[in-house]
């Protein structure tokens, strides 16, 4: 499916409760860079766990969708790929999950054109978030392909708005590795931005944020089952229906700051392991 503008009530309530995705009202007077710089002088709880990272507007849908769809339970092992300083990892940890965030941008504190001051993901900042919220999310500053993690051990994996920033081969590489890390019967929740300025919707081959990856190619043959997601709304699937998506645009959550929407899908590893 593609995220809709009209969010279910439980999504709206969840966003309101956690201050997702921009941080709570108390944080609004400060820009993200100032919140991080003044971390020791502000009240992180008043600001909420989502206040410390610049975020795409499609996260209004993505975070509550991921939370409610993944059905995390205390004690579950959760892998969050490319989570930066986003609040969801800390929320899941506060609810008793054992969370690992694998993000190579933590090596240099930079992401794309965003400077360290704006992006903010450094091991130091991440630890400050852990300390502030009383949790112990593990940060691995590597690609998930390079991270030394035990295979078949994660009950849930998340990869939210990451793949569109990569080329098709890198995206596939991440998915293959996560498929191996997932435990039998584990769920892998993925969102992928769909850019309206990039082909097949627009005239550009790619934009400065990335491109429209072929979701079907990326997820096929991994030994995972598509258990959630409408193939008519997932680019690359034979059922993908461009005209239908265009017709649906008024109902879709399109970011006001960049013309994109959010494709969402869930892959499940069969209980007997990958086939």
């Amino acid at each position: 499916m593609i995220g809709r503008k009209a969010l279910p009530a439980e999504y709206r309530e969840w966003n309101a409760y956690w201050g997702a995705p921009y941080g709570r009202e108390e944080a609004a007077a400060l820009e993200v860079a100032d919140r991080l710089e003044g971390f020791d002088r502000v009240d992180p709880h008043a600001f909420g766990p989502f206040a410390f990272q610049l975020t795409s507007d499609t996260r209004v849908f993505e975070y509550p969708w991921a939370y409610h769809t993944m059905e995390a339970k205390p004690g579950m092992r959760v892998l969050d790929v490319g989570a930066g300083l986003s609040g969801l990892q800390f929320v899941l940890a506060m609810e008793g999950c054992e969370v690992t965030n694998v993000d190579p941008s933590a090596k240099n504190g930079e992401w794309g054109s965003l400077s360290a001051a704006m992006w903010g993901l450094t091991p130091h900042n991440h630890q400050r978030m852990n300390d502030a919220f009383g949790v112990d999310v593990r940060l691995i500053p590597e690609t998930v392909q390079d991270a030394d993690l035990p295979e078949g051990t994660f009950d849930r994996a998340l990869c939210l708005s990451v793949l569109e920033h990569l080329d098709q081969a890198d995206a596939r590489g991440i998915l293959e590795r996560v498929a191996a890390l997932l435990a039998p019967d584990g769920l892998f929740l993925v969102t992928v931005d769909l850019f309206f300025d990039v082909k097949p919707f627009g005239v550009l081959p790619a934009n400065s944020y990335g491109g429209n990856i072929d979701v079907h190619q990326a997820v096929s043959g991994l030994g995972l089952e598509l258990v959630y997601g409408d193939p008519r709304e997932l680019l690359g699937f034979p059922e993908f229906d461009l005209e239908r998506v265009v017709e649906l645009v008024p109902d879709l959550l399109v970011s006001p700051r960049y013309p994109c929407a959010s494709q969402a899908l869930v892959l499940r590893k069969p209980a007997g392991g990958a086939r």
């Binding site: 400060l30 850019f195 309206f196 627009g202 265009v246 399109v254 960049y258 013309p259």
Partner: protein, 256 residues
Amino acid sequence: MIGRAPLQDEYLEWNRTWGAPYGRGPSAMVSFRRRLEKVDPDAYGPFAFQAQRGLKTFQYPWAYFTAGVRPGMRVMLSGEGLGGFQFVLAMNGLQVVNVDPTAAGEPARAHARINRAFGTDVRLVTDLSEAAALEQGSFDRVFLLSTLDHLGERAGRAVLESSAALLAPGGLCLITADLLLHLRPLGVLPEGPAERNVDLRRLTDGLGLELAHGDPRELYGFPEFDRGRVVEMLPEMFVGPFYPSVSQTAVLGKPG
């Protein structure tokens, strides 16, 4: 015409000199709030006080060099907010009026602080009745830089009619209008949340102004506009790094 990449050397040099369009290097590590609390003209430069989508990298130097401004000229900008271009013109000895109804309140107080810091005297007009009282036929240049694409057709036409009336005989109206690549006729979406691809022919027709600069094949709405050619030439065009758009440019002259 539509702005091309790479930028000409004189445009790059102008941007370097003024720290356009994002502000000088040191400002990158400081939030807008802090930049505005304590305006540091040397460290930040005049362009550090308003967020930009990126096309201004081309538009500001294009406007500066195309306008042929000279000290003493009277110029008006529409919807320039806290943008640095107005202060650069003032530092170059021009009399500058910025008409921006959206800049009332705190932005106006910030505008005053920037004026003081740079030793300029840009007049900010936020009140529409005050704008209506500006002397007609008195401005040598009018700048509408990425203003029209944020207005509806009626409001855009009103701004242009008012600009035409304010221009002195022989004066020039410099226009940039973002051409958004995700919106029709280039993309599939009809319009964005706060912008649209405006019909430039309809907006500028019958104002008593002449098209002095601009390639109608690259101005949406003109009968000569050639979508296929624009798409083909995209690799040569300056595409906004933070929003999918290119910059149409036109200069309208008021007969002397």
